[in-house]
Symmetry: C2
Subunit: 213 residues, 2 copies
DNA sequence: CGTCCCGGCGAACACCTGTTTACTGAATGA
DNA sequence: TCATTCAGTAAACAGGTGTTCGCCGGGACG
């Protein structure tokens, strides 16, 4: 297609990327049952089956691996968010679609979701910051998309922002609840979905009658 | 007052309680910069200034100390919650009072708040469960108190519950945001308060027009 | 008074940790 | 073809860890 600088990844590079990915996978797997700050470098290399020193060929730190996992977990989600928000829809249908999308994402990537939920307030500052920045970006995108709705006429930028943050936080809470449901803790998935739908409905109602109540 | 069974705490017991409290304090202090699963038993005893083996005289585990910290952090809050909710008020005033109470609590007990926020989805199952149970109790109390409002006429128990959970989750998020503000990360305290007030106003609006929107 | 209880101590146990060092050997590129 | 690059190795380093043991000494109590 385009003869621009796509330098044909040499076999060596692909192999390096392969083991780097293996490290990330092993890390994510171990993080199902512990938090990043208690994860050991040797633990990971042992699972992958290589010498501890080789870890440094790919990451400086464990927190370095952590922020890489943040990208992997949240990076691919921006497209999904835009897709959900850009389709002009009946409001109820949009909520339904949103909740279903969250449920599916949690079902398909439970370890990533667990990682983000756990490390969002976890003990590793760099990872916390990376997650916070990514969630901020989500809030920006949501605010921008919501501003296009006719319901948002007359809303200040600050109000749009606070609404977007409310939505983003709610999505994170819902994802975490879905995760608990998938593991048998707490209510089952359908209950979580129903609660989430109603909460979103309630917020939407508040949004519609804002400044008039 | 009452000559019931209050067995006059013997000097030995008070001393034991004293060092137990010292262990809890030291743990909480260390948990400012790390998570529970990475906290070392020896770290704590070193801070307190006693032999590692003495730890077992007070706690079986580190997770045991963790659930004790959960009680200490959240146990005293139920009275506060009831107090806020039981005063019949103008709605705006109630919101104002709620946000101010959260801000004050975070200011006065930052380490406890940080601990709860961090371990709520953290790596120690027992502590996670303890926090979850306590937050469930809060949701129960909020639901019960809100049901007394005239706005709640015709609300099903399930709807009350989903509203209460929305409030509780929002309070936790707000407390965490206040904490970030206190540490210079993110927006300052006044911005957090304004956002929180508006979000609560929006939810209240949604509540007022529920089932009519 | 004498006995028991029990919180705290110090030492030792076996094990695991992150990091550095010098090295190998295959893919690389002139 | 030959020199170079570099992902991965093995070994050693200096620490740290949780847990167990027997012992001490002062409050508790019959």
């Amino acid at each position: 297609m385009s003869h621009t600088s796509v330098p044909t990844p040499t076999p060596r590079e692909t192999q390096k990327a392969r083991t780097r990915c293996a490290l990330l996978d092993a890390g994510l797997r171990l993080l199902e049952n512990q938090s990043l700050s208690s994860l050991g470098l040797r633990e990971i290399t042992r699972v992958v089956g290589m010498a501890p020193a080789a870890f440094y060929r790919h990451f400086r730190d464990l927190s370095d691996l952590g922020v890489a996992l943040v990208e992997e977990s949240l990076g691919s989600l921006h497209a999904v968010v835009r897709e959900i928000l850009e389709v002009p829809d009946d409001e109820a249908a949009r909520i339904e679609r949103t909740v279903e999308t969250i449920a599916r994402y949690v079902r398909e990537h439970p370890t990533h979701v667990r990682f983000v939920a756990r490390e969002r307030h976890g003990g590793v500052p760099a990872v916390r910051a990376a997650i916070g920045a990514e969630l901020d970006r989500f809030a920006d995108e949501v605010a921008e998309a919501l501003a296009a709705d006719e319901v948002s006429a007359g809303w200040s930028a600050e109000d749009m922002r606070m609404l977007a943050e409310l939505y983003v936080d709610h999505v994170v809470m819902t994802a975490s609840a879905f995760l608990d449901a998938a593991l048998g803790e707490g209510p089952d998935e359908e209950s979580v979905a129903r609660t989430a739908r109603r909460q979103l409905m309630l917020i939407s109602t508040g949004r519609r009658y804002w400044r008039e109540g």
